[in-house]
Subunit: 233 residues, 2 copies
DNA sequence: AAACATAAAACGTCTGACCTTTAACGTCCA
DNA sequence: TGGACGTTAAAGGTCAGACGTTTTATGTTT
């Protein structure tokens, strides 16, 4: 017989899917405490061990977080972040990937970003500049990353946006580390005004070039970056 | 008390880490059947439920695959692939992300790829051309993807390479779907000779441009692609 | 009002049993 | 001899109950 087996689904997988749906659908929002094991057992009509296997899978995936004596909470809505962090890549590698995504995001956003998103980018750029003037490291990193993330979101590609978000923690760590090594001298005083202009003009080529012009962790093969200062920005 | 709790590690997490190490270290190679639950219980000195929670986590992550009545097998060495597939992104989105990674990979590879890798690229290109002449869809898709993957690997960035590999299944599905819609007419008869030339010359800018010149699922903002034929290539 | 003791609730782990599926073995018959 | 078939052992899947550990809330005391 070559019939590839009906493969009656494994109960645990159904439960995982069920719990996952509650999270991705938003019925269990970020940060919320999900029902207790006892409650879920009763509602789903399964044994505790089966439920625990399901929740453990989602905990490992990064979607849930269990706290003994307290409860289980929604920690994320995508498994990408956890998976990427488990690779614990080197900082330079993360920056290189970010650069590729940045360029693509900028190019796509030039054609798709909405006026409202452009306004938000403007505000984020202002916050970034303020943090710079005040020499506020954490605020600057946060604003810079929020700007880039907003561009990625403006690209209208949820996979791209999710990927960028998943790289977020590693990127912030990278930024902080770089900062601790070089201080404010190592960072880029320039803003992203040029990129924002390009997005406003709908100029994809210029936007893509601008997005990568002042980040370069590996040698400046993009040709437009200043060779002497390879800093995050 | 503000002491953020010593948080004595949870046993299951230790077990997960232990199993994960066996996989990533290669002691349990791809496709191998891992020891039986009974054996692992004895070796680790834990209860069956605890072990099952650990294995279930890795099963959901895509590293393991359990088959009732048979055993548990190593299915992958990275969790990225499973996480990305669970997003079930639209085909166009995957192609856009691929485009960004392609450009970055090509640019980096121009500076880092080894002569041996270049030879391999040459061979893959030949295979790709042969498949095209013989109108062998599956062989063509396989060779094309292998070429791109080899470029990504040649970039000397393991995160980039892993990401590209993780997108593989979705990309192949995308290719196949595109093919079923358009047949050989929709595909790109051009090869990647220009890209290979650029890599050989160490010309990063040309390599990056060439990598994205003939893929375009979203409008040809890269400026060098022919506007009339948006096909995978 | 602050500090301490107590109890309840939630997740963590263990034990043992039984079910379902698969693979391997051995037997039987053409 | 070789294939078909039935048996059986082994592996993962599910259930049930018990007890441990941690956190939070409660309530009492000083």
């Amino acid at each position: 017989m070559a019939l590839p087996s009906v493969r009656r689904s494994v109960l645990v997988d159904d439960v995982i899917q069920r719990l996952r749906d509650e999270i991705t659908s938003g019925r269990w929002p970020m940060g919320a405490r999900i029902p207790t094991e006892t409650a879920l057992i009763a509602e789903l009509g399964i044994a505790r061990g089966t439920l625990r296997e399901a929740t453990r899978a989602l905990i490992h995936a990064g979607l849930l977080q269990a706290r003994q004596g307290d409860g289980t909470y929604v920690r994320a809505t995508s498994e990408l972040s956890g998976a990427i962090q488990r690779l614990d890549s080197e900082l330079g590698e993360v920056l290189e990937v970010r650069q590729g995504l940045d360029a693509q995001a900028a190019g796509l956003a030039a054609a798709r970003i909405t006026p409202e998103a452009l306004d938000r980018l403007d505000a984020l750029l202002a916050r970034r500049a303020t943090a710079w003037r005040q020499r506020d490291r954490d605020a600057w990193i946060l604003a810079d990353h929020a700007f880039h993330q907003a561009v990625a979101t403006g690209a209208g590609n949820s996979l791209l946006s999710d990927l960028y978000a998943a790289l977020g923690p590693a990127l912030r760590r990278s930024m902080t580390a770089h900062w601790d090594d070089h201080g404010f001298d190592g960072a880029d005083p320039r803003g992203h005004e040029d990129l924002l202009d390009a997005l406003r003009a709908g100029d994809a080529v210029r936007a893509a070039r601008s997005a990568t012009s002042n980040i370069d962790a590996t040698g400046d093969w993009h040709g437009t970056s200043s060779p002497s200062r390879p800093g995050p920005g």
